[in-house]
């Protein structure tokens, strides 16, 4: 420990430890001086290599016939057999349609809501009311997926659910929301909006608070009303934030989460609820067809990644804001 402090002192005697100079000897000293930082980050890098990069290496089983006794490296190559099997499979069209359908529906319905909520909240002058709305709308974010799906089942149950009680009371017929395929996407998407709109609005509220109040004063002098100012000042003001989040959202359009779909899925609504992720789980984990389902998962990951890169490039070309 003592010798290390001595090295630190020696290296640091030029002044700031952040000082950069090009001499070779001081570069070596910088490495030496910061050895503790490397020590600190080592377990973190180790974690990412083991739990993220080794699975990326392991994804080669998508092009092999995985045999447990031979391991990932030893299993024989079979080329695109599994990918082709997926493309030719009876379920391919259904899975892709559902995954894409839910993803797009979620984007169209779910993406604008937090923006509107933030714009409205920003207009509220009473801080009490504002805090109350925020406290309530943020709360569902902390419920687990299991609880949200459980609540959906309670409220939408044809026998004991509140929603159907109201429908019957109004003179209608009870609807089997959870087993009817045509309802699946809407229930999935709008319950998602219910759960996350408040939380997602925080980032826009942060962006809104950074808008120069002078712009509003000037617009008021020019006679612009509230709605006009929301539309012409606030919305353009948060446009960069919107673009970045839009890129991220489009990039994950095929990444329809496994957790919630899986819980909402049942044999009756399969027609509308079977997505890539649940299919991978069923054939891979439950069916032990490791290579085939790894191929399906890889297809998903690659499409997502390409989408992200494309959208990011388009956004950068069109006007600046991008992820990197």
């Amino acid at each position: 420990m003592d010798s290390q402090t001595a090295v630190n002192k020696m290296a640091g005697k030029g002044g700031s430890m952040y000082e950069k100079n090009g001499r070779g000897s001081s570069r070596a000293a910088a490495w030496l001086r910061n050895w503790q930082l490397y020590l600190l980050i080592a377990p973190v890098l180790g974690y990412f290599i083991v739990f993220h990069y080794i699975p990326m290496y392991g994804v080669q089983i998508a092009f092999k016939d995985y045999i447990a006794s031979k391991g990932i490296t030893g299993s024989p190559w079979v080329g695109l057999k599994h990918v082709e099997r997926f493309f030719d499979s009876f379920y391919f069209a259904r899975i892709l349609r559902n995954t894409l359908g839910i993803g797009v529906y979620e984007l169209i319905a779910g993406f604008p809501v937090p923006i509107v909520l933030a714009l409205l909240l920003h207009e509220v002058r009473s801080s009490k009311f504002r805090r109350f709305v925020q406290t309530v709308t943020y709360a569902p974010h902390f419920l687990s997926t299991v609880v949200v799906v459980g609540m959906l089942m309670m409220f939408l149950s044809p026998v004991s659910g509140l929603v159907n009680a109201v429908i019957v009371w109004l003179g209608g017929q009870p609807v089997a929301f959870l087993t009817e395929p045509s309802w699946f996407k809407s229930i999935y998407v709008w319950s998602g909006v219910w759960q996350s709109m408040g939380w997602s609005s925080i980032i826009y509220l942060a962006a809104l608070s950074g808008i120069d109040p002078q712009l509003h004063e000037a617009a008021k002098v020019d006679g612009a009303g509230r709605l006009k100012r929301m539309w012409h000042i606030n919305l353009p003001g948060i446009a960069p934030t919107i673009v970045v989040l839009l890129i991220l959202n489009i990039g994950s359009i095929l990444g329809v989460g496994f957790e919630k779909v899986f819980l909402m899925q049942n044999s009756l609504n399969m027609e509308a609820s079977d997505v890539i992720a649940t299919n991978v789980y069923r054939s891979g984990i439950l069916g032990a067809q490791y290579s085939y389902s790894a191929a399906v998962g890889l297809f998903n990951a690659v499409v997502n990644f390409v989408l992200l890169l494309t959208v990011n490039r388009i956004a950068r070309k069109m006007g600046g804001s991008s992820l990197w």
């Binding site: 420990m1 430890m17 952040y18 219910w194 998962g297």
Partner: protein, 293 residues
Amino acid sequence: MLETRSERITGIGIYVLLGVVTLIVLYPLFFVLIASVSNPGSVIRGEVWLWPKGFSLVGYERLFGNKELLRGFMNTVMYTVVGTALNVVMTVAGAYPLSRTDFKGRHFFTFLIVFTMFFGGGMIPTYLLIKSLGLLNTFWAMIIPSAVSVWNILIMRTFFQSSIPKEVQEAAFMDGCSNIKILLKVVLPLSGPVLAVMVLFYAVGHWNAYFSALLYLSDRDLYPMQLFLREILVQNQMQEMVDISDDTLARSLMDAEAIKYAAVIVTNLPMLILYPFLQKYFVKGVMVGAIKG
């Protein structure tokens, strides 16, 4: 300030709209709460609307009488405590070096870490890895695979860069402090708020996690609460709690509903109590993240 009539209408419209949204979010939560303490029969007949009716705690009684669920609750507490501790240590260990501009290789390391946010091997290769590491069906399967989150490392790094003055660190360095000593004695004591945010984010994640348990655990003794909750809420499996033997079927169906409402309340109780006090920290965390790094 003079407001025109249309301005006033806009203002009222905004309040009304927000009021409706708030009601839509709040009512389901409120309903579960009152339904959980009402007579199950009244709930099923649709008589419970705004106030509990026929006060009854039968759902809670059945719930607490179930040993398996209690064990699940304890398991979740363990996963949350141990997991969060590891998460926070790993996050600091990753974020601090990356926040230092004199740390050689930080751009490469950042790329290595951030890349995993956008691309991954997927469910199956990860499952095979966990299997070959011998982690299946162990306590650590719930802890190690989610040891740290990229996003939180980025939040933490941004905080270190923007909120800890460089001069303080340099001064400590001139006094002969080693890097680890600077981190422990100078940086961390100044990082209270962001550490609180990290603890909260990670703890909520562990508390609500069911996916890794579904994948990696088959031993019921290790199940977290959320998996039992899934059986009760989603799969309607609660034969053990609903006493079919000496009751009519209708009665046990009612009890089943009561158990569901009570289960939602019990598992979210810690959150429901803590949340209003912690809200500002959560929001702060999102804000720190919003300052793009």
